[in-house]
Symmetry: C2
Subunit: 177 residues, 2 copies
DNA sequence: CGCGTATAGTTGAAGGCTAAAGTAATTTGG
DNA sequence: CCAAATTACTTTAGCCTTCAACTATACGCG
C-alpha cells in the first residue's frame, strides 16, 4: 500500500488529489529504510545489554553527555542531542542516576533548569564499553559500505534529518551555570 | 564516544586491539542514521495515529498483508515481512483482530501454523488512509531527495539491511493452506 | 508592577515491547 | 517407529515509552 494501485483503480479522471504514490525506486529505498529503523536499534541493543547493561538509548545519552563541556548538559539540551522527548529523558536519567552513572544538579542561573552530569563511574563505564559498541557498529554498518557510499548516505540522511528535525542542527553545546 | 579519543590516550604502542574508532565521515553519517531511526517512526506515527488510529508498525503489518496472496500470510512469514519478532506480531495481531481489521485462521496443512487474513474492513481502512500516509512519507523523506540520492541511499541501506537481517531477502510471499 | 504566556522539568497511569517460558504439532535421526 | 529436536505460535510479567497533567520559574509588556 505504498506503490501505485492496479491500473483499473486509477481510471477516474475526475478524481481529485490522486495520492502521489511512490515510484518503484522510492518504494525499494523506503522498505529498506523502514527495515533498518525497525531492526538496527535492536541489533545494537543486544550487544549493549549483554556487555554493558545499557539500552541503545541509554548508551547514546551517556555518549552525548561525555562529549559535552564538563560532561554536563541541561536536560533540555540533552534531550535535543539525544533525539528524545524531555519526558523520556527524565525517566532515563532517573534510571541512570540510580546506577550512579549520572547525577542531577540544580542550575544556579535558571532555577527551572536541571543539569545532568556524567559521573566518573559513568564515564569509566562508557569508556570500558565503547570499544565493543563501536566494533559492533562497524561490523553491522561500516564494514559493508565503502567511503563513497558513506558520503552519499550521509548526504541523503542529513537532508532527511534536517527535514524531520529542523531544530537539531541548532543544538547548543553548553550547560547552564 | 565514537570518534577517536584525544591523542594522549593513543600513545601506548604496546596496547593490543585498538578499537577501530569511526572516522569523521563515518561518525557524521552515524549520528544522522541514529537520529533518523530515533525520530522518523515517531513523526510518521503522529500522522497515522491522528488520522487512522494506527501505530506505524500496525500500518506496516496491514500493508504487508494487503500485498500478499489472498491478503493472507502465516504469522511467521508476516513477522519476517514486517521485521518483527513473532511475539510482537502476535500481540499486534490480537489488537488488530479486536478492531476487526485482521482475522486469524487455522492452517489446514500444518496445524501448528496460523494464517493472518486482512478483512474487508481492514483493507478498506488501509485504502482510506494510505494516501495520507504516503503524502507524509513524501513530505518528510522524498521531497528532500533527488533521484540520484534515492538510488545511492537505496544501495547503501540495502547493504546494511542485508547484513543485519540476512533472512529478509529470502522471504516467501505465500500463506499456508 | 502584575498578569498572561512560555519555558523547564517531573510524575503517574496506560499501553506497547521484549524476553522467557509454555503449548502443541511436525520433522529428524537412530 | 519412537524419542529428541525443531518449528510455530501464544502468553505472562516486567520494563520502557508516551501522553497528559502538574509544578515552578522566567519572560514580555501594558
Amino acid at each position: 500500500m505504498l506503490g501505485s494501485p492496479p491500473a483499473e483503480r486509477i481510471g477516474a479522471v475526475s478524481e481529485m488529489k490522486q495520492p502521489r504514490w511512490l515510484t518503484p525506486n522510492e518504494r525499494e529505498m523506503w522498505m529498506r529504510l523502514v527495515g533498518i529503523t525497525f531492526l538496527l536499534p535492536g541489533v545494537l541493543e543486544t550487544q549493549l545489554k549483554r556487555d554493558a547493561g545499557l539500552t541503545f538509548f541509554e548508551y547514546h545519552v551517556l555518549a552525548m553527555l561525555s562529549e559535552a563541556d564538563e560532561r554536563t548538559r541541561s536536560m533540555s539540551d540533552l534531550a535535543r542531542w539525544s533525539n528524545s522527548s524531555l519526558s523520556r529523558l527524565s525517566h532515563v536519567v532517573t534510571r541512570l542516576e540510580k546506577q550512579g552513572w549520572v547525577r542531577r544538579e540544580a542550575c544556579p542561573d535558571d532555577r527551572r533548569a536541571t543539569n545532568a552530569v556524567l559521573t566518573e563511574e559513568g564515564f569509566a563505564h562508557l569508556e570500558a564499553h565503547a570499544p565493543g559498541h563501536v566494533d559492533e557498529v562497524r561490523r553491522q554498518v561500516f564494514d559493508v559500505l565503502d567511503q563513497d557510499q558513506v558520503r552519499a548516505m550521509s548526504e541523503g540522511l542529513g537532508s532527511v534529518l534536517a527535514q524531520i528535525d529542523p531544530g537539531s542542527s541548532a543544538a547548543p553545546n553548553g550547560h547552564c551555570g
